[in-house]
Amino acid sequence: MNPAAPDVKTLRIDGVDVSARADQTVLEAAREKGLSIPTLCHLDGLSDVGACRLCLVEVKGTSKLMPACVTRVEEGMEVTTQSDRLLKYRRMILELLFAERNHVCSVCVANGHCDLQWLGQAHGLTHVQFPYRYPKLSVDASHMRFAVDHNRCILCTRCVRVCDEVEGAHTWDVMGRGIESSVITDLQQPWGESDTCTSCGKCVQVCPTGALFEKGRARSVVKDRDFLPYLAMMREGKR
């Protein structure tokens, strides 16, 4: 271990002075200070991919919006996490997600426990301006304990990452491109026939919506995600 004190940076987030370790992200620094930045693809304990674009923030000195989840803190940085422009973009991103697939909250197992649903509510989303696309998507219930409903998937790839990085099975991945993308198990075999799946259920726990759920639990219980930072921390400690 390096005995030297960690490099500390001071910055301002929404006018609040914040200090953070040099290896921390803007998102971590903000959340430690109790400042909220919305996220969907980020999950404590998993690697960050910067894909959902909800955590984009304004940084003084650059016209580009920066994803807080992968942007390292810098000395003297001035970050704005809430502005009319950011709110507008975040709402549009959420609307695009609602319109992309068939998110029928009223008949979804995750109704009431869904990250997408509550983010919509938190952003004052009372309707979706974009036309709904109504793609015809499947449900794979071939696994003994779990099922995947592609109608509810937002392609955040949390399941892909937890399966690869934490469970080490890499059963999940993404196939197809653009609007036709989809998460798959193994080489697009039915989940129940997967040779690599250990049935650990981590993917189900990290799924932000009703795309992955445990069978036999209509109105699914609240998902448990606390194990992740714990696992990550224990592994760090071992190194």
Binding site: V49, A51, L155, G178, I179
Partner: protein
């Protein structure tokens, strides 16, 4: 190989040429092959053999001669008489004419502005050497720059020359090449990589393909010099699998370079070692984006990741990586050979040197050109390109492919350089120029490019994945006469949002064709929406929509 051996190859080659006073060059790049230049070459060979001229008039397959629309092209050397639209049946006549007057009915004047106005740097050997013979390249001063760099210059001096040249990335973004090289050179790491981006994918762009098919050794030389300059010992060329001929020629070129000791260890008798491997792309446009390209070389799914860290800091396998495009590397040998100042003397204040463009669309001379930076669009399209065919009226030119924009007539006198194009709402891009006349509908053009972006989006970030699909649907709605003004407003909002929130360049630039056509041809959008009419008569507006 030693520098002496290299000059020996050059001398031998020159002697061989002297012993064959006449030569016939046949274009064997993809454009001419698609109109059967391979058959033309065969019948020329037969005709030469028939007349017993085999020893004195070899028939050589060469790279692209530029004027693709007139292919197959044949050139009778050393007089340089160019023949166009040659068919296999013309072979006898051409061979016969070698000792007399040229075949007038097939001749294409070399005095055309198309040839006269060009300046060959990247394309200096294109159409003049056999791309499958290293000896040909060496005879044309090939690898002189490399030997010079390795034996007479320090890596810092090489970078200094590249910086002085003012060369900017030819892949599209125009990042200063010297700066990129010095960043990678300064990175502290045991392993570094040089990557050549040959994943050219813009519709209507074939500059890189032509360079690889016509002068592959030149790209290798540029990469080896780069490897020496930045301290890398391994290079990858990421080339799309849709370019089979380029791949074949690259493989031949790498084999020959290895055979002659120009790749491998102790290059040019120095301590420097460098190797190059090919990696084939599976046809995803987004893999031209550098972080997606790296992911693809590593064997992963070709999706971009947020930058920083930039590849120069942490790229391929986490090591500092220099990524340049084919044309950028192809400029390097000449810059080293002739000096950065020579290169910087061409072009404009902030865009130096020459640029290769692929002219396509409604233009008389379809093909490949290389002109100094700063030439006006008018000169490129109406002089070099020979103007718009069938007496129709020029309407716009799309530069930069799906990431670029449509530039209308009022900007024709604008000098073509990175900054002016950006000001006009487009980009330099990799060099595709699609010329449109008054029979093109700009809504339809925008729809075409949006469809391209939608199907080429990798699907990772939401704005690009779902945003391009919504924008495409809105453009389809407008073109079919089903849209209202609210749809136009929604389209503009989406353009703004997708541009500013997408993860990589593909998404960030996907709205450009819409934004530029809206900026210059808003009246056409309004005609579709308010009058349910397509002014160019391209869009099929349904009758019930009219009712």
């Amino acid at each position: 190989m030693t520098p002496e051996q290299l000059s020996q190859i050059g001398a031998d080659e020159a002697a061989a040429r002297a012993s064959a006073p006449q030569r016939l060059y046949v274009c064997m790049a993809a454009g001419c092959i698609s109109s059967s230049s391979d058959a033309v070459k065969k019948s020329l060979e037969a005709a030469v053999a028939e007349r017993g001229l085999k020893g004195t008039c070899p028939v050589t397959g060469v790279g692209c001669m530029g004027l693709c629309s007139r292919g197959p092209l044949v050139s009778a050397e050393p007089a340089g008489i160019l023949y166009q639209d040659v068919s296999p049946g013309d072979a006898g006549e051409i061979v016969q004419s070698l000792s007399g007057e040229p075949v007038a009915r097939l001749q294409c004047s070399r005095d055309l502005p198309f040839f006269k106005r060009q300046v060959g740097v990247v394309l200096e050997n294109s159409g003049r050497i056999d791309p499958e013979r290293l000896e040909d390249y060496v005879a044309a001063q090939g690898y002189e720059g490399l030997v010079q760099a390795l034996t007479e210059m320090s890596p810092a001096e090489v970078i200094e020359q590249v910086s002085r040249s003012g060369l900017r990335g030819r892949g599209g973004a125009g990042y200063p090449t010297g700066l990129k090289w010095s960043t990678v050179a300064k990175a502290q790491a045991a392993t570094k990589y040089v990557v050549c981006n040959a994943d050219e994918g813009d519709p209507g762009a074939f500059m890189d393909r032509s360079v690889l098919e016509s002068d592959p050794q030149r790209v290798l030389e540029g990469m080896i010099i780069a490897g020496y300059a930045v301290g890398a010992s391994r290079g990858y060329i990421y080339v799309r699998a849709e370019y089979p001929l380029a791949i074949t020629r690259l493989n031949v070129a790498i084999r020959q370079a290895k055979h002659h000791g120009l790749l491998g260890t102790q290059i040019a008798n120095t301590e420097f070692a460098f190797d190059i491997e090919l990696r084939l792309g599976a046809g995803a446009f987004v893999c031209g984006e550098e972080t997606a390209l790296i992911a693809s070389i590593e064997g992963g799914r070709g999706t971009p990741r947020p930058r920083p860290p930039y590849p120069a800091q942490a790229g391929l396998y986490g090591a500092p990586t220099l990524i340049n495009n084919v044309e950028t590397f192809a400029n390097i040998p000449a810059i080293i050979r002739k000096g950065g100042d020579w290169y910087a003397a061409m072009g404009t204040a902030r865009s130096k040197g020459t640029k290769v463009f692929a002219l396509t669309g409604k233009i008389n001379c379809t093909g490949l050109i290389e002109v100094p930076m700063g030439m006006s669009l008018r000169e490129i399209i109406f002089e070099v390109g020979g103007g718009v065919p069938e007496g129709r009226k020029f309407k716009a030119v799309q530069t930069g492919g799906p990431s670029g924009g449509c530039i209308p007539e009022q900007f024709l006198d604008m000098p073509v350089d990175y900054d002016s194009l950006a000001q006009a709402g487009s980009i330099m891009g990799s060099g595709g120029m699609i010329v449109m006349d008054d029979s093109s509908c700009m809504v339809d053009v925008a729809k075409y490019f949006m469809e391209f972006c939608m199907s080429e989006s990798c699907g990772k970030c939401i704005p690009c994945r779902a945003g391009t699909a919504q924008m495409y649907d809105l453009l389809a709605k407008i073109s079919e006469g089903r849209a209202g003004m609210g749809d136009l407003e929604m389209l503009e909002n989406l353009c703004d949002m997708v541009k500013n929130t997408s993860l990589c360049g593909l998404g960030q630039s996907a709205p450009n064709p819409v934004l530029s056509t809206l900026r210059y041809f808003r009246d056409e959008y309004l005609a579709h929406i308010q009058e349910k009419r397509c002014p160019a008569g391209v869009c099929a507006i349904k009758q019930e929509a009219n009712a």
